[in-house]
């Protein structure tokens, strides 16, 4: 049993960082992730960690300094949101291309314009192809747990990739929840000592990071990154297993809820899973065979595992808290639908874009989704493939 506490998502994450005690942390304030670094800065000021805190002048420099620090050979963390993540965009690819296991808390938030500081997944989804492992968290407990696991996953010798852990801005970051913290010693033991490969600070063995890579090698290096993503999958499961042994909390690529005999299902990620779970329970009481699947891991995308989990479902609604303008639906939808294409029979898959810029997702909205799915189940027909939920039209 861990220590039960009540704290906001941001403070929970800052406490995970305190327990991880990274060697270097470079960050620039941006709402709603600001509180993470504020709290962490006071841990530094009070000597509760011995991290070198670099308060850079932009998120671009935050990620640049993280890259320099990680290449130098130590544990590195940062936190950001929305436009901050977008400003890091160029450097995200450089972090993963150099195989640097930086860990970043992304407090998910809408991207400008119009400016909006509230929770949606546009930032994380924008970075989906940058070569970072990506987790999404339903609540403060998961954000805390995911962050600690991220350290171990990223530093694995087969993986050596940066990891971002998402949690919904304000909805989780600023809400006070009950959660359990591990003891400082448990976290220390769980993450272990970090032994870097080819650190820059080993001046006896000089290495060159970030060379020019022309047509003769670039493809091979990118292929190796793709392979590292594949190798990350068993590592993520193993780390989750080890984490369960310490914490009693079990994690997989996703969580299924009342899915075994479900004919229709909802797939979501982040904080909306809680609301969906409640509505699923209500519908079950009315005899509706509905289940829920909550995606925790978005990169690497658990394609085969989703196929196996959703094989018996007749109709599936994929919930995207992000739009992909001009695309074949939201980012989660297009990948889930693609993953299920080879199934026979193939479930009908529909998409709801919802909750942009922090718009509330209510019980009634999910009840509507279930009604739509029931209709598809009965008629076998999809009226509208992609629908905007929680919007005035």
């Amino acid at each position: 049993m861990g220590k039960p506490v009540a704290m906001t998502g941001n403070i929970a994450v800052a406490n995970a960082m305190r327990q991880i005690n990274p060697d270097v942390c470079a960050a620039y304030p941006i709402t709603p992730s600001t509180e993470v670094m504020q709290q962490f800065a006071s841990f530094v000021a009070d000597g509760k960690v011995d991290t070198e805190l670099v308060t850079v002048e932009s998120e671009h420099s935050a990620m640049s300094a993280c890259i320099g620090a990680a290449a130098a050979g130590g544990r590195v963390m940062t936190a950001t949101s929305a436009n901050g993540l977008a400003l890091m965009w160029e450097m995200l690819y450089i972090a993963s291309g150099n195989r640097l296991p930086i860990v970043m808390m992304v407090v998910n938030r809408a991207l400008s314009a119009p400016i909006n500081i509230h929770g949606d997944h546009s930032d994380g989804m924008g970075a989906r192809d940058s070569g970072w492992i990506q987790f999404y968290s339903e609540n403060a407990q998961e954000a805390y747990d995911n962050l600690i696991q991220a350290v171990v996953i990223g530093q694995n010798r087969d993986v050596r990739l940066p990891v971002m852990v998402g949690m919904d801005g304000f909805i989780i970051s600023h809400s006070i929840e009950n959660l359990e913290l591990l003891s400082d010693q448990q976290v220390k033991d769980f993450i272990g000592e970090y032994i870097p490969l080819y650190p820059l600070l080993n001046i006896k063995q000089p290495v060159t990071f970030g060379p020019l890579d022309l047509q003769d090698y670039y493809s091979e290096h990118k292929r190796q990154q793709a392979e590292a993503m594949k190798l990350a999958k068993p590592v993520i499961l193993k780390v989750a297993q080890d984490f369960a042994a310490v914490s009693g909390r079990k994690y997989g690529f996703f969580e299924t809820y009342r899915l075994e005999d479900a004919e229709i299902a909802i797939l979501t990620l982040g904080s909306s899973a809680g609301t969906a779970r409640f509505v699923v329970d209500e519908a079950r009481e009315r005899g509706v065979k509905v289940g829920l699947i909550k995606l925790r891991l978005f990169r690497p995308f658990p394609m085969e595992e989703l196929q196996a989990a959703l094989g018996q479902v007749k109709a599936l609604a994929v919930m995207d808290r992000c739009d992909s303008f001009g695309a074949a639906g939201g980012p989660v939808f297009s990948e889930v639908r693609s993953a299920l294409y080879d199934l026979s029979p193939r479930p009908a898959v529909i998409n709801y874009i919802y909750g942009l810029g922090g718009r509330d997702l209510g019980i009634a909205h999910i009840e509507q989704v279930i009604r739509d799915l029931q209709e598809i189940r009965q008629t076998g027909k999809v009226k509208e493939l992609i629908t905007y939920l929680t919007v005035r039209e």
């Binding site: 060697d23 270097v24 470079a26 011995d50 991290t51 070198e52 670099v54 308060t55 850079v56 002048e57 932009s58 671009h60 420099s61 640049s64 300094a65 993280c66 890259i67 320099g68 620090a69 990680a70 290449a71 130098a72 050979g73 130590g74 590195v76 160029e90 450097m91 450089i94 150099n98 820059l200 600070l201 080993n202 001046i203 000089p206 290495v207 060159t208 990071f209 970030g210 060379p211 020019l212 890579d213 022309l214 090698y217």
Partner: protein, 311 residues
């Protein structure tokens, strides 16, 4: 300070065989700096000629640890490396007797323009590193586009000398002044033709804790449209004409390191370069005049500042 004999016996830390142009000013600058710095350095570089031509995978010319991450962040990347050094040293994870110095290189584009913010941030935060700008006055790596360091009137691919507009319309930014406003412990301008002055400045900079800055002129025959063997001569003339004064600012005290006995007109430096050729047409005489006036004013100002800061 290391003597010429000592320097000649030191290992070259930028290995030959790199793909920088024959006669490239930047490579001379970097070789001299590394000879002066010695092996216990970690180098960061901005994207640019220096980086792309010395690190073509699977080869590297760097006999010291080297990192390149992007164009605008040589300073921020170096700051990250330095922060890790401080952290690991404090935690006893690095040998305490092994002092490591940090040098960030960037060209004028990566320093005066896109990299100015990360340079300013690194200087303001007081990281213990030396930033070296090798200034060749344009974006040479991408094909000679104007930078904010490009001199007034120069013909570049984005400030071409055309029928209506005769080359770059603005004076160059004085980055050394901008850096000085950060009140760092040491900054200087240097030139590869004066190896002694450059070596002394590198040694001095690396002996001081905190942020340091060196702006070093690095002639580029491709961009300057000059002879392949003229880099050192052009660097010398830049100094003799006071286009590129050699001076240093240590804790606010300005010292001019070289005062030409007779200051040569800037045209002496310009006439060896094809990028200024059009300015010698009679209709552009006013630009030559403006350029000379700008240089004179800056030089006079520097002389006054030296006098003022000595009191």
């Amino acid at each position: 300070m290391a003597t010429l004999k000592e320097l000649s016996q030191r290992e070259e830390l930028l290995a030959g065989g790199h793909r920088l142009c024959a006669g490239c000013g930047a490579s001379i600058v970097v070789r001299q700096i590394l000879l002066a710095a010695g092996k216990n350095v970690v180098v960061s570089s901005a994207t640019g000629c220096l980086e792309v031509a010395t690190t073509i995978y699977p080869y590297t010319s760097w006999r010291v640890p080297f990192i390149h991450s992007a164009f605008e962040n040589s300073a921020a990347t170096a700051c990250g490396v330095e922060a890790m050094y401080q952290s690991l040293k404090r935690k006893g994870k690095l040998p305490v007797d092994e002092e490591i110095r940090f040098i960030a290189f960037g060209g004028d584009g990566g320093t005066y323009d896109i990299g100015l913010q990360s340079l300013s941030g690194g200087l303001e935060r007081g990281h213990d590193f030396l930033y070296v700008c090798y200034d060749n006055g344009a974006y040479m790596n991408t094909g000679i586009q104007r930078s904010s360091s490009t001199p007034l009137g120069a013909d570049t691919t984005t400030s071409p000398a055309g029928k209506v507009i005769p080359g770059k319309q603005q004076y160059r930014k004085d980055l050394t002044d901008v850096v000085e406003a950060h009140h760092i412990p040491y900054l200087a301008q240097a030139s590869p033709h004066n190896w002694k002055d450059l070596t002394r400045k590198v040694e001095k900079a690396l002996s001081i804790r905190g942020p340091k800055f060196l702006n070093v002129i690095a002639p580029c025959h491709r961009g300057w449209r000059s002879g392949v063997d003229q880099a050192i001569e052009l660097a010398r003339l830049a100094v003799e004409t006071c286009f590129w004064p050699l001076y240093e600012v240590e804790n606010g005290k300005v010292t001019i390191n070289y005062k030409p006995k007779t200051k040569k007109p800037v045209t002496e430096w310009m006439k060896l370069q094809g990028r200024f050729k059009h300015l010698f047409n009679p209709e552009n005489e006013h630009i030559l005049q403006r350029l000379q006036e700008g240089i004179d004013a800056k030089w006079e100002n520097l002389l006054r500042r030296e006098e003022g800061s000595g009191q």
